[in-house]
């Protein structure tokens, strides 16, 4: 197994967890679940409360299915455990991953190093704003432009007699 690193907005940590394939017959806690990106989530719903972390497979960085799975797990199914985008991601997708609901990405150490630490960090700082309202991460890479406009409009409506 190659050396793997988990990259989140707070930093990098080695991570060699081997997420397990789902077995519906075994009714016990799951520490780390491997989720293929063509998974039918309805098979997993009963087990979700018992899952501590989910590693969504990214077999190629051009395959964006995992982004939709993260969105569904977080927003529709209320999953609150650790959510990791696992596989072939590049820094330029890091912010997207967090916006869709991932806590971190996990890539081969050699890949992380090839892209350099600066590139991973810069990816998070690239945009302070995003147009997609529901994908804004308050503490993270982007606030919603639509919400920011609303706030600015409200601020303009101030009743302060000194602001003309």
């Amino acid at each position: 197994m190659p050396m793997l690193d988990l990259i989140s907005s707070t930093g990098v940590a080695p991570n060699d967890v081997e997420p397990a394939l789902f077995d519906a017959a075994v009714n016990q806690d799951i520490d780390a679940l491997h989720l293929p990106n063509d998974a039918d989530l309805s098979d997993y719903l009963d087990a979700l409360p018992r899952v501590k972390s989910i590693f969504v497979d990214f077999p190629a960085f051009t395959d964006g299915r995992g982004f939709s799975l993260a969105r569904l797990l977080r927003h529709r199914h209320g999953y609150e455990g650790l959510l990791v985008a696992d596989g072939q991601l590049i820094p330029d997708q890091f912010a997207f991953a967090l916006q869709c609901g991932f806590d971190a990405v996990r890539v081969k150490r050699s890949e992380r190093e090839r892209h350099t630490a600066e590139a991973w960090q810069a990816a998070l700082d690239a945009f302070d704003v995003t147009y997609q309202r529901g994908y804004a991460v308050k503490a993270g890479p982007a606030t919603s432009i639509f919400d920011a406009r609303l706030t600015a409009a409200e601020a303009n409506k101030t009743t302060d007699p000194f602001s003309a």
Partner: protein, 548 residues
């Protein structure tokens, strides 16, 4: 026209900086070519036969004069002095150097422009009826909707790595579709609902390419505030279930066809019901804010009637073919033909761009449109200034009077530029234009849309041309396949294949025989398309192959 606020400006500037960084990382090797490719494509940068090509977004085909002047500047400074209007209303530059591209993007950002999502497997630049806001037949100006879609789709975190490219077109005039909404992944028509309220008819799964399919109704009436959540639901179904095993089967049209429209609609509806719409939808106040930018200009009321009789014949002909009715009395919509037979269809020089920008400033509220037919439009011209506009166009050699006539050919770049081409397309367009150069003859033939693609990818929309031409190749020899009876409007239809391919010389003669046959058999004011529908393919096939 829409103006960026501080947030739009911040976003686009951040995008320029990001791309500069990506180019640096590519040049120093941190990004492999495989990794860089989708990133540069998402910024409109292609690698073509001879060089890079930068495709600049012209959102819904609308430009301010200073933006067109900036495009002229780019053409002069980074290209060979001209640009090319594409069938998706964008402007392409065929000769930039990679290292210059970040500077080009910075120049564009200074006039609120960008090249974001003009290619790649993401939601592409949204296209629109070029007569939007000026047409007498529209229910509502579709540009505020198009602008909202531009913003919603910009660097979408979930939908930037789709199975394949995704094209959206909108029109406010469902009775006269000038935006080809049925030939797009999603087409949106502004319509009236049961109680007269304005909403959207959503069409899905249209597209040309190898497998031409006319789109079907996904939702007959979508209330305005539900649009973004409903599109999110549609995109999610596509992102999850669209095929990724075969690039030629990855468009949403194949998913819709393989799933069946009923089942596809069911999947979207389930998704739509389950998602939190309030999370995605945009407030009425925000929609009003955007719409305010597209309020009608301040029309004058002191316009003198135009005495055509007193005008030169060339001007009268131009008025007849290139000028279209405007919703406001006294005004007119002016089409500027970029179909000079000497040039590639859609090409425009930097000098001509400046001339058009000046005319727009003087006569059309400083605004210009590009069209999917690869022409330009001045949308709001006083009728008593039409002569001045024409004089300006004559001086700039842009006075071709051939809009919607046989000389107004849509054509992809083909073998002259495109790495995927199997045959040349531009020279064929030029030869046809030359053959029918006589204006009186063009006028007599009437409305006729010839569309040419240089390979099966169909960027020249040949499937929906009244006469469609597809360039192919076998054992190093180019040949051309003809389709007849295609239609790109609200009565959209894929043309019928005629039979075996023809050499270029046979093709030009064959087209002329088809046209002559039509002239012989047409009744009254029938367009070619009407005659074709009345008589069927046989007689025209016979004419096409009469020599073979």
């Amino acid at each position: 026209m829409y103006r960026y606020d501080e947030f739009d400006a911040e976003f686009v500037n951040a995008r320029v900086a990001q791309f500069r960084d990506q180019v640096e990382r590519r040049l120093d090797g941190r990004l492999s070519e495989a990794e860089f490719r989708p990133l540069r494509l998402m910024n409109g940068l292609y690698l073509q036969l001879h060089a890079y090509m930068l495709r600049v977004a012209v959102p819904y085909g609308t430009l301010r004069s200073e933006q067109l002047r900036m495009l002229a500047h780019l053409a002069d400074k980074y290209d060979k002095g001209y640009g090319h209007v594409t069938t998706r209303q964008n402007m392409q530059f065929n000769w930039p150097v990679l290292g210059d591209v970040p500077d080009m993007l910075a120049d564009l950002a200074s006039v609120e422009m960008h090249a974001i999502q003009t290619s790649g497997n993401c939601i592409r630049n949204v296209t629109c009826d070029p007569y939007a806001g000026a047409a007498a037949d529209e229910i509502e100006d579709p540009r505020p909707l198009a602008e909202l879609l531009r913003q919603w789709s910009m660097l979408h975190p979930e939908f930037s790595f789709l199975p394949r490219k995704f094209k959206i077109a909108v029109t406010g005039a469902p009775t006269h579709d000038r935006a080809m909404v049925r030939a797009h992944d999603i087409g949106i028509e502004v319509v009236r609902g049961p109680s007269g309220e304005v909403g959207y008819h959503i069409i899905v799964g249209g597209g040309l390419g190898r497998t031409p399919i006319i789109g079907e109704t996904l939702r007959a009436f979508c209330p305005k505030d539900e649009l973004l959540p409903y599109l999110d639901a549609t995109m999610r179904v596509y992102n999850r279930f669209g095929r990724r095993d075969n690039k030629y089967k990855a468009r949403i049209k194949i998913l819709v066809r393989e799933t069946g429209i009923e089942e596809f609609r069911f999947l979207v509806d389930e998704e739509f019901k389950a998602l939190d719409a309030s999370d995605i939808m945009v407030s009425q106040a925000e929609r009003d804010r955007i719409a305010a930018y597209f309020a009608p200009p301040e029309y004058a009321s002191d316009i003198k009637a135009l005495d055509l009789e007193a005008q030169p014949e060339a001007f009268r002909k131009w008025v007849e073919t290139n000028v279209h009715t405007h919703v406001q009395p006294g005004y007119a919509i002016v089409n500027i033909s970029l179909k000079d037979p000497e040039r590639a269809p859609g090409d425009i020089t930097a000098e001509q761009m400046r001339a058009v920008a000046d005319l727009a400033d003087k006569h059309s509220f400083g605004e210009i449109r590009t069209t999917h037919q690869q022409n330009m439009v001045l949308a709001h011209v006083r009728q008593d200034e039409l002569r001045a506009v024409w004089d300006g166009l004559v001086a700039a050699q842009l006075e071709d009077a051939n809009i919607n006539l046989i000389g107004d050919i849509i054509c992809c770049p083909g073998m002259d530029f495109c790495a995927l081409a199997t045959a040349r397309s531009i020279p064929v367009a030029q030869k046809i234009a030359e053959r029918f150069n006589d204006h009186a003859r063009q006028q007599a033939i009437g409305e006729m849309q010839i569309k040419i693609s240089g390979c099966i990818n169909a960027c020249g929309h040949h499937h929906v041309g009244h006469i469609g031409i597809l360039g192919l190749e076998k054992a190093g020899v180019e040949f051309y396949q003809v389709t007849l009876g295609g239609d790109a409007t609200q009565t959209a239809r894929v043309g019928d294949r005629t039979g075996k391919g023809l050499s270029e010389a046979e093709l030009i003669d064959g087209i002329e025989r088809i046209v002559d046959r039509y002239m012989d058999v047409r009744e009254g004011n029938e367009r070619f398309l009407d005659t074709y529908q009345r008589l069927g393919a046989e007689t025209f096939k016979e004419a096409l192959y009469a020599d073979a």
